[in-house]
């Protein structure tokens, strides 16, 4: 998976043009529920609900979703394992009730991760920046994040090309050479990134930049029906947990 995979998916997603508010309500709303409610049945219900929005609503491709979930699962496997065992004076043994604790942790972490993935796969970064501005995050910081985002793709492409060029000249043929080659990539990348920054300065000054970076962002009105549906599902999850 490359840096651009999720970004591209979000930009081309079926729900790309839905209001940020709706997607935030789903992604962040369920995320909070996953953390607040007891893992069983709370997190399990959250997971089911958010997956339904992911696949039935936003129609995220399953293959892409599976490729994305691999990395957090790796962390969960090793981290969850630690809850299964305990360290006593005699060494390592199975922890009493460890299995249950580990299962609950896995449930909660998975549900939360599904929420994060829903946001990542449906919400273009441009909308998030607009949202951060509305949340009164200092303009300079949003601008910094925006420019960083823009530079990430340019610099990642350069890094990928440099790495391919080094591989073609056997630059990774041993661990020692790999270390040297990678250091050379990093050492060449930073000055290039800074040179890019200087050119960007000229380019934006030519467009009348005075120190403030205002752009017109289009704002999609929130669809009340969707909000009502999401709130209803979230309420249902809450009620189910309370009753159970």
């Amino acid at each position: 998976m490359s840096v651009g995979t999720l970004d591209r998916a979000a930009s081309l997603n079926h729900w790309r043009h839905r209001a940020l508010g709706e997607k935030a309500l789903i992604g962040l709303g369920f995320l909070v529920l996953a953390l607040v409610l007891p893992p069983w049945p709370g997190a399990a219900l959250v997971a089911v609900a958010v997956l339904a929005f992911t696949f039935l609503g936003a129609r995220v491709p399953l293959r892409l979703w599976l490729a994305t979930v691999v990395l957090p699962l790796g962390f969960l496997a090793s981290g969850g394992l630690m809850l299964l065992v305990q360290i006593t004076g005699d060494g390592v043994s199975l922890a009493p009730g460890g299995a249950e604790k580990a299962a609950f942790l896995c449930l909660r972490a998975m549900a939360a991760t599904f929420c994060l993935m829903f946001l990542a796969l449906t919400t273009p970064m441009a909308d998030l920046f607009a949202g951060l501005r509305r949340l009164a995050v200092p303009a300079e910081i949003v601008e910094l994040a925006l420019l960083t985002y823009r530079f990430v793709f340019l610099i990642a492409d350069e890094a990928a090309a440099m790495t391919a060029a080094q591989r073609a000249r056997l630059g990774h043929s041993s661990r020692r050479r790999w270390l040297r080659s990678t250091a050379m990539v990093a050492a060449n990348l930073l000055p290039r990134a800074l040179a890019r920054a200087r050119r960007m300065e000229t380019g934006l000054a030519a467009r009348g930049w005075q120190g403030e970076m205002r752009v017109l962002s289009s704002r999609v009105p929130v669809c009340r029906k969707t909000v009502a549906l999401v709130l209803a599902v979230q309420l249902a999850v809450l009620l189910a947990v309370v009753l159970a």
Binding site: A126, R150, R214, L216
Partner: protein, 285 residues
């Protein structure tokens, strides 16, 4: 012929380097398309950066509509509203997360209201034929598309002069042809265009006037029809005439097309001038 922009006796050296511009004088005729033609490293980009006030000459002056350039903060803002610059690499100029947001940057900096800026954005995207890309993030565009977004960002400021650094660099033939068509249209609407290029074929396809550039100075400036047909002059700048012109001159010399014809700008134009020999007189096959 009035010059909306002109440079007199410019001299400039980047800190610690050999001079990039020397005693350079140049006029940009209003409402026409001027090619700054010369090899790489001749100082073409440096000149463009002077023409919108991005660089300030060590000696000499840049005149905008006859008045010396004003390098104050306010002066520069006005200058750049009238003279827009499009850099060679569109990635150096596009910063926002979507195309429409990016194009709105210039108009908002000019102090327009949101509504007025939105209208400008739509007009510029339409003029460049990229209205359908409005919501795309820039890193998902092709090279030709990015180029047009960068130009739209300049056009949205409704400048009088558009400066373009190597506008077709990196584009394939189709992308270059589309861009040339767009630039011609902008020219027809009365915008003055100045573009730098090392590609004499681009100068042939687009320019009304040509300034021959070498080693930081202008060797000659004049109508494209005159300069591009002057092999001796071009050779002094290390250039050869466009292939089309070379062949046209050769065909004229052989009497295969009329000596009074106009310089052909497209292969079709040359073919029209090539008279078919009557069947009886065809060369032996």
């Amino acid at each position: 012929m009035t010059a909306i922009l002109s440079a007199t006796d410019l001299h400039y050296a980047y800190p610690g380097e050999v001079p990039a511009l020397r005693q350079l004088s140049l006029g940009v005729p209003t409402g026409r398309k001027l090619a700054i033609l010369g090899p790489n490293g001749a100082g073409k980009s440096t000149l463009l950066l002077h023409l919108n006030g991005s660089l300030r000459p060590d000696r000499g002056a840049v005149l905008l509509a006859g008045k010396p350039g004003d390098y104050s903060r306010r002066g520069l803002l006005q200058w750049r509203s009238r003279v827009a610059l499009v850099l060679q690499d569109p990635d150096d100029q596009i910063f926002a997360a979507t195309v429409a947001e990016d194009v709105s940057f210039g108009p908002l900096n000019q102090g327009l209201t949101d509504t007025a800026a939105r209208a400008r954005v739509q007009a510029a995207l339409a003029a460049l034929g990229i209205a359908d890309l409005a919501d795309r993030p820039p890193h998902m565009l092709s090279g030709g598309q990015k180029k047009r977004v960068a130009i739209a960002g300049a056009v949205a400021m409704e400048p009088e002069v558009l400066l373009l650094d190597e506008p077709t660099a990196g584009l394939d033939r189709e992308g270059a042809d589309q861009l040339i068509a767009v630039l011609r249209q902008l020219g027809q609407r009365g915008m003055t265009l100045v573009f730098s290029t090392h590609d004499i074929d681009l100068a042939l396809a687009l320019a009304d006037d040509v300034a021959l550039f070498q080693d930081g100075t202008v060797l000659a400036q004049g109508r494209a029809e005159t300069l591009l047909c002057d092999p001796a002059l071009l050779a002094s700048a290390g250039l050869r005439p466009p292939v089309l012109v070379e062949l046209w001159l050769a065909a004229q010399a052989r009497g295969l097309c009329p000596a009074s014809g106009q310089m052909p700008r497209t292969p079709e134009a040359l073919m029209e001038q090539l008279a078919p020999a009557p069947p009886a007189l065809r060369v032996a096959q």
